[in-house]
């Protein structure tokens, strides 16, 4: 059960060896002479900052990028996978960072996409459903294999993605940030599965930005920086501090900068707030939620996937139109937002949990994205003033150390972390009073994470009230002044900083035990 035993001795057979891998996109070189060796029965963690080239390296192994220099050996034989299909045949299964599920198709069709059991070309649906059921149950999911993937929240989708990879019975399984949308219990499930796979002799490449995960499952660690191979070492020989130095190339202070609360006047108050996402269900995703946030305070929202946290945020933000119940007060005045527009005009900002789908316009430049929400006041009378927009974007982006050649770059050329900073910049443009952050550090590297934490401190110092959803417990516990835990769309507990421990939060989140809410002493 606990890690030391499950570590494999280094005599194990080598499954994959990648050597001298160099990859260019046009002029930019994103991988320089990188290398990676995966042994049977080990969890090989691949780490590095955003844009270090981890995913690119994996995509080369998966036969997605086919133009590159260097050699790949699988089972001692030199290979050069030209298509994802070939890579699969070579026993490589990949869980990609960007979910590669098709929302408009059923769970079964997704899991067996491209390799459905057929007779005379005709798909054997019953067979598919049977096997699908088997695999999803392994992940502790109990879902109907015939339902469309899009009907599940992002967390469930990620589990389906994992099931898809497992079901290929591959020798090497690559997981590119598989837990970026998972909550503790599912992560546990995944880890125990990984242990089983190790015993079966599979090799696992595991990409993550979460330190505690590295500490828990890593056997060996390979670090990339700016596309270069920095080193590979057994986890035991890489304490966190050293690891971070390898990644960032410099010493870095503690991961979570001390958060000093500056509680001010009450900013946002919800009373018996309920949300009815018309899009898919008559049943409320959120009901009877009452909470308050004060200026300069960070209120953490805890809860498992499906707890309705995102719906709560969208509801507050007017994302579902006026499909909300209950009362909402902003700075003491009764408000109800019928559209995001109204919310923004009165200083409420929402950072959604899926930047590619709902956060950014990938085809537009950094400036355009960073000024989109504030475009109205930046263009009085409707006529745009590019210089002014540029200056504004410049001003909000600069404190974030955005790594981009120029602000006129299309955002889809940026790597995950930097894209996230652009979204943050967009919301700072409107000088918000209340900031709703849904998974602000999803897929963001430690360096960038730390910067975001620091920014959050600055904002609270400026009197902004922050509501924070995060599936990373440490983050939730250390950043929040208070934590409201949701369960099935209802408040299961409200915990003060002192009361909040991993146990209490998880208990409440799973709805098992009810913790006494703290007296409203603050106000």
């Amino acid at each position: 059960m606990n890690d030391p035993e499950s570590r494999t001795e280094s005599r194990a057979a080598t499954l994959v060896r990648m050597n001298g891998i160099t990859k260019r996109f046009g002029k930019v070189t994103v991988l320089k002479d990188a290398q990676l060796e995966v042994r049977s029965g080990e969890v090989h963690v691949l780490v590095g900052e955003n844009g270090a080239g981890k995913s690119t390296l994996i995509k080369i192994l998966a036969g997605i990028h086919t133009e590159f220099e260097g050699r790949i050996e699988i089972g001692g034989r030199e290979v050069r996978p030209q298509t994802p299909w070939e890579a699969k045949a070579l026993g490589i299964a990949v869980i990609h960072q960007e979910l590669s599920l098709i929302g408009s198709m059923s769970v079964a069709d997704n899991i067996f996409l491209g390799r459905a059991p057929t007779r005379a070309g005709l798909v054997l649906d019953a067979e598919q459903w049977r096997q699908t059921g088997h695999w999803v149950r392994q992940l502790g999911l109990d879902i109907d294999a015939r339902r469309l993937v899009e009907q599940f929240p992002i967390a469930v989708q990620q589990l389906i993605e994992i099931a898809k990879a497992l079901s290929q019975n591959a020798k090497v399984i690559v997981m590119d940030e598989p837990t970026s949308a998972l909550n503790a219990p599912e992560v546990e499930k995944l880890f125990s599965l990984i242990r089983i796979l190790k015993q079966k002799g599979c090799g696992i490449v595991y990409i993550t930005h979460k330190m505690e995960e590295i500490e828990r499952i890593a056997d060996r660690i390979t670090v990339l920086r700016d596309g270069q191979w920095i080193g590979t070492a057994p986890a035991a020989e890489l304490p966190a501090a050293k690891l971070i130095q390898w990644m960032v190339g410099r010493e870095m202070g503690e991961q979570f900068p001390r958060h000093t609360p500056h509680p001010g006047a009450e900013r946002l108050r919800l009373e018996n707030f309920g949300v009815f996402p018309t899009s898919f269900s008559r049943k409320p995703a959120v009901q009877d939620v009452s909470l308050t946030v004060r200026a300069g305070e960070i209120l953490g929202i805890g809860g498992l996937q499906g707890s309705g946290a995102s719906e709560l945020f969208l509801g507050i933000f007017g994302g579902y139109g006026s499909a909300t119940r209950g009362r909402m007060q902003l700075d003491g005045t009764e408000r109800r937002f019928a559209s995001p527009r109204q919310a923004i005009e009165s200083g409420v900002a929402l950072l959604t949990n899926d930047r590619k789908a709902t956060g950014l316009v990938l085809s537009l430049s950094i400036v355009a994205n960073a000024t989109l929400a504030a475009l109205r006041e930046l263009s009085p009378g409707g006529w745009r003033q590019p210089a002014r927009e540029y200056a504004a974007a410049q001003q909000t982006v600069s404190p974030m150390q955005l790594r981009a050649a120029s602000l006129d770059l299309e955002v889809n050329a940026l790597s995950g972390g930097n894209q996230q900073k652009v979204v943050l910049a967009k919301w700072l443009q409107i000088r918000p009073k209340v900031l709703l952050l849904d998974e602000p550090t999803r897929g963001v590297d430690i360096g960038a994470k730390r910067e975001i934490y620091q920014l959050m401190n600055q904002w609270t110092a400026q009197g902004i009230a922050i509501l924070l959803i995060t599936s990373e417990l440490p983050e939730l516990l250390t950043l929040s002044d208070r934590i409201v835990v949701l369960h099935r769309g209802r408040v299961a507990a409200e915990l003060s900083r002192e009361q909040a421990t991993p146990e209490t939060v998880l208990m409440a989140a799973m709805g098992s035990k009810r913790v006494e809410p703290v007296a409203e002493s603050q106000n």
Partner: protein, 322 residues
């Protein structure tokens, strides 16, 4: 029932049928002949719609079906009337012609990455041109010109008569049967065959499909080939019913076919829909046409009503953005 797209599409059809019952042109709407003719008229469009459904599901669109129909009709008439080949040779030959045209636009779209709209637009113009070449700008009919410029008339080929025939005591046209067959084929391909899954997947998320090892290029190209072949079948039916090959045939049929697919409820974004829906769409528009026609609504009114009813029909089944 209203939850399912099929239910909603059915509602639209119902709507039209009710209109028909109300404005039944002194009972003409209740004569079986009327329905037989409606189906016969809708068949050619319907056959095109089958291919169109495959293409649209894969996230594409095919504007060239009308022109391919004309090209095939011309060639078909050439072979059947002038060179009097038997149907056993003509039909495969026509399918090949249609398949090739489709293959070209498929290649240009799927392999070369040109937007389907523009690739098939080009094919639409090109195939029309070929049709005019092949026919020398004349209709290919049973009137053959003698060297001296006079005309002699040959028999209408047997298999033309066969296709243009009626069965069940004259209550069902053969072309309607052919249409039904096309629907059946398309249905098996789409909802049972592996390839159909590929099309849904590609239409739903092309990049993800590629990552999952779906042969995207091949699957997409095949969709256009299929569309070309269905167009060929439609062309044969057209030629057989007109007993000639008209290079001007099929003008604007592509929009008709697309409208039928979309009114059925298949999304032009791709990935959602099915052939059953298309069938409903075909019937909806087919009956709409017929009702306006038996009531002898003048053209202006006919156009206005068509426009309005299309919108109403689609409104009954719009899906709210999630």
């Amino acid at each position: 029932m209203l939850a399912s797209p099929a239910g909603r599409a059915f509602l639209a059809l119902l709507l039209v049928l009710i209109i028909g019952v109300i404005f039944n042109a002194d009972g003409a709407f209740f004569k079986i002949g009327t329905h037989r003719d409606t189906l016969r008229q809708a068949s050619v469009y319907g056959i095109l719609a089958c291919g169109m459904t495959l293409v649209i599901l894969s996230g594409g669109i095919d504007l060239s079906v009308g022109s391919m129909l004309a090209l095939v009709a011309v060639c078909c008439a050439q072979m059947a009337i002038h060179w009097n080949w038997s149907g056993w040779c003509v039909v495969p030959a026509c399918l090949i012609i249609g398949g090739c045209c489709g293959g070209v636009s498929g290649f240009v779209t799927a392999r070369l990455g040109v937007q389907p709209f523009i690739a098939t637009l080009a094919m639409m113009v090109l195939a029309r041109g070929l049709a005019k070449y092949a026919s020398g700008g004349m209709k290919v009919s049973t009137a053959l010109m003698n060297p001296d410029g006079s005309f002699r008339y040959v028999e209408v080929p047997r298999f033309f008569r066969l296709v243009d025939h009626r069965i069940l005591g004259g209550n069902l046209s053969v072309v309607t049967l052919i249409f039904a067959a096309c629907i059946a084929v398309a249905w098996v391909l789409m909802s049972k065959h592996r390839w159909g899954r590929y099309l849904y997947a590609i239409g739903g998320n092309e990049e993800a499909s590629r990552l999952s090892g779906v042969p995207v290029v091949a699957a997409k190209t095949l969709a256009y080939v299929a569309s070309g072949m269905f167009a060929a079948v439609a062309g044969i039916c057209q030629a057989a019913q007109e007993q000639q090959g008209d290079p001007e045939a099929g003008m604007g049929y592509e929009l008709m076919a697309i409208a039928m697919v979309v009114i059925g409820g298949t999304s032009l974004m791709g990935g959602r829909g099915g052939i059953g829906l298309t069938l409903l769409g075909v019937l909806t528009i087919g009956y709409l046409d017929k009702i306006l026609s038996i009531n002898a609504v003048p053209e202006a009114g006919r156009l206005v009503l068509t426009g309005i009813i299309i919108v109403v029909a689609v409104l009954t089944q719009r899906r709210k953005r999630t």
